[in-house]
């Protein structure tokens, strides 16, 4: 407890999963944030930053005590990171009550209402996206590729999976597309228990889909991609939310992932200057694999804080910082420039179509084309 030694310094909390199922994502996010910090001399907005890291673990049960510690004992002026949607949903209540800006850099759930009233999002910001946006972004492209053919939709049975798939299926059917799934609804596989996808895939093959759309992440993504290439579906085009092939899972998937087309707000092969600087710094920091959207969003969170803190005069308090975040305007980012949507406090950003291709000796999600900007203004 107590104020940091340097009177000018600010204390910022970074809450990410460092143990449990999502540790890879959490580590990426920490690396992204630290990369920005280190490349700016440990200062954001001219102030020395005292970064306090907390472990989110597997969900709210561990994340809430950790957030409480950051808020009450370390008295951070902003909380960033947060891997899981459920965590954001619960921690948001704490940060709002304490008037500390929550600058989420990954999942953004559809916040549950509080006592019948919608959530107060004044202190809630995200540098990432809404979980249904990848699906919304790619639906049009898939429709144009399959024409009148049907698409089979399959995903994991939890909130993230429901959101990701809903984004796609709703938009796709609204555009006149047909789902190959027998009941017209996406198929959800038990999560995280499913590790054998072959039966589902072979069953899906019987519906003779023109293409398959999916969302998986982590270990399930590895198993899914690997087994997809071994199933009756192996010649059917696979479209996915970009997390399917994002980051280290791609290495584990190996050649089986080649040709998967997926959608994300970032690709390491983007050619803008900010990205090139980011990539260079990323490799210089000793990372062998290309940066992920998780690292990038967390990097951007640092960038947002950098600009916001620069705009705060005198002592940094939660409300002052929050107000400053509202005023950062356009953020120059490796993903291309973006800005906060004024009421929902999430990025208005471009989405990209990527394809897994061999990029030298390693596989990479190579940029194919721009898709759309979301949320549509």
């Amino acid at each position: 407890a107590g104020a940091p030694a340097d009177p000018d310094a600010v204390r910022i909390g970074l809450l990410v999963s460092l143990s449990g199922t999502y540790a890879t994502v959490g580590q990426d996010m920490q690396a992204g944030f630290r990369l920005y910090l280190d490349s700016h001399g440990g200062r954001l907005g001219g102030r020395k930053v005292d970064l306090v890291v907390g472990d989110e673990g597997d969900g709210p049960a561990t994340a809430v005590p950790a957030a409480q510690k950051l808020l009450e004992r370390d008295r951070v002026v902003a909380l960033t990171g947060l891997v899981g949607g459920a965590t954001v949903d619960k921690v948001q209540v704490l940060t709002t009550a304490r008037k500390v800006p929550l600058l989420g850099a990954n999942a953004r759930p559809a916040f549950t209402s509080e006592g019948g009233k919608p959530r107060d999002l004044t202190y809630t910001w995200h540098t990432s996206y809404n979980s249904d946006e990848p699906g919304i972004a790619i639906a049009d492209h898939v429709k144009s590729q399959v024409g009148d053919g049907a698409v089979y939709a399959i995903g994991p049975d939890y909130q993230g999976g429901w959101d990701e798939l809903r984004g796609f299926t709703d938009t796709f059917t609204r555009l006149g597309g047909k789902l190959a799934n027998p009941d017209g609804k996406a198929l959800f596989t038990p999560f995280p228990a499913t590790e054998n996808f072959l039966p589902y895939l072979n069953k899906a093959a019987e519906t003779k889909p023109e293409a398959v759309y999916t969302f998986y992440a982590g270990a399930a993504a590895v198993a899914f991609v690997k087994q997809y290439a071994q199933s009756d579906l192996k010649d059917v085009p696979l479209y996915a939310a970009g997390f399917l092939t994002e980051g280290s899972v791609l290495t584990a998937q190996g050649p089986a992932a080649t040709g998967i087309r997926n959608v994300l707000n970032y690709s390491p092969t983007l050619s803008n200057a900010a990205n090139q600087a980011f990539i260079a710094a990323w490799s210089a920091a000793g990372n062998s694999s290309p940066p992920t959207t998780f690292a990038m969003a967390s990097y951007d969170a640092a960038a947002v804080l950098d600009r916001a803190l620069a705009g705060v005069a005198g002592d940094v308090t939660g409300p002052k910082l929050n107000e400053a975040i509202g005023k950062v305007g356009r953020v120059t980012s490796p993903r291309g420039d973006w800005q906060f949507e004024p009421t929902e406090h999430r990025p208005v950003q471009r989405w990209y179509l990527r394809e897994v291709r061999a990029d030298g000796p390693v596989l990479s999600n190579v940029l194919v084309q721009d898709l759309t900007t979301l949320p549509a203004t």
Partner: protein
């Protein structure tokens, strides 16, 4: 001589209350401490502590190692959450309804579980724990899906009193409920201690002496379900959010391990151990982010070797040791026989 006799009795009476007043005193001290972190953090540990009491009751008193008490816990929690969200915010109503829901759930499950013993119970209750999470996940109208419910309205102690939102009153309230429920459990178990030890230890002989073993075990299981239900209500009151993962295997495992560390035959020991376990995971490990599992693992391993029989047994050993040391210091020698038994 005669004048002095009543004194130790009164002192003994008093001393019997001390262990129960201790946690309340500790909670008051914590609530008075300026830091807002401690009251909220400790209050959030108490539902698991009470759940561990319930698990220790089933595991210790009935001899059925169980992971399945999360089912009545979930029943109590979701009953409370739904009541609160429907506008019924009286805490006593919540506690009663949750206890009933817990007892009902445990009663139903008990009809299947108490016919089995040992590892079979453990595995059946593992299935119960997993199925509880799955049901909670799938029953989205009740549970709100995998992300669960948040912003559940705070309870009121009595009609007209302000809602229990501030961390310090919540801590005092949660401590009072935990202590009262644990004390009630202990009282009931103590009264039937002999019976339960006997049926647990030698079923065949007990049945041949006219004791309906399964009925006894079912009653214990159901009663423990009421405690677990109460713990579920407390979960909602202290957290005001819930996800299906909170009523799943991880919680069940922590509660069971806490019961083992505390000494399965002592529900209060289980409660203390649960606070200890969560303290290691959430407080001690906070300064070493990412390594909470490591510290927890180290705690478990240390507990096995350093506390055979659990915290309670360690306490008993300590007390015996103190008494032995005192006895040897006593000036007048005791008869040999009684010294040997002490």
């Amino acid at each position: 001589m005669t004048a002095r006799l009543p004194l130790p009795h009164r002192w003994d009476d008093l001393r019997r209350w001390v262990p129960w007043l201790l946690p309340l005193g500790a909670a008051t001290t914590l609530a008075a401490a300026s830091d807002g972190y401690w009251p909220a953090t400790v209050a959030r540990m108490l539902p698991l502590a009470l759940l561990a009491v319930s698990v220790a009751t089933v595991t210790g008193a009935a001899g059925l190692p169980t992971l399945g008490q999360v089912a009545p816990y979930a029943a109590g929690a979701y009953t409370t959450a739904r009541l609160a969200m429907a506008g019924h915010t009286l805490a006593p109503v919540h506690l009663t309804a949750a206890a009933l829901a817990g007892a009902f759930t445990a009663g139903l499950l008990g009809m299947l579980l108490v016919r089995h013993r040992g590892t079979v119970v453990l595995m059946l209750s593992l299935a119960v724990a997993e199925l509880t999470t799955i049901t909670a996940t799938q029953w989205r109208t009740v549970s709100g899906g995998t992300d669960g419910l948040a912003g559940i309205p705070a309870p009121h102690l009595l009609p007209g009193t302000p809602p229990l939102t501030a961390d310090r009153p919540v801590l005092l309230y949660a401590t009072a409920v935990t202590v009262a429920a644990t004390a009630a459990t202990m009282l009931l178990l103590h009264r039937h201690h002999l019976l339960l030890t006997a049926v647990r230890g030698n079923e065949t002989r007990a049945a041949a002496s006219g004791h309906p073993v399964t009925t006894y075990l079912w009653l214990v299981h159901t009663g423990a379900g009421a405690i677990a239900g109460t713990a579920g209500a407390l979960l909602i009151h202290t957290h005001r959010w819930i996800t299906p993962a909170d009523v799943g295997f991880d919680t069940a495992a922590l509660a069971l391990l806490a019961a083992v560390i505390g000494g399965t035959h002592s529900p209060p020991g289980a409660a203390v151990a649960a606070v200890l376990v969560l303290g290691v995971r959430d407080v001690a490990a906070a300064d070493w982010p990412g390594h909470a599992p490591l510290l927890l693992g180290a705690l478990f391993v240390a507990a096995v070797y350093l506390l055979p029989g659990g915290l309670t047994a360690a306490l008993t050993r300590l007390r015996a040791e103190i008494r032995r040391v005192r006895a040897t210091r006593r000036p007048e020698p005791l008869p040999a026989a009684s010294r040997r038994t002490s």
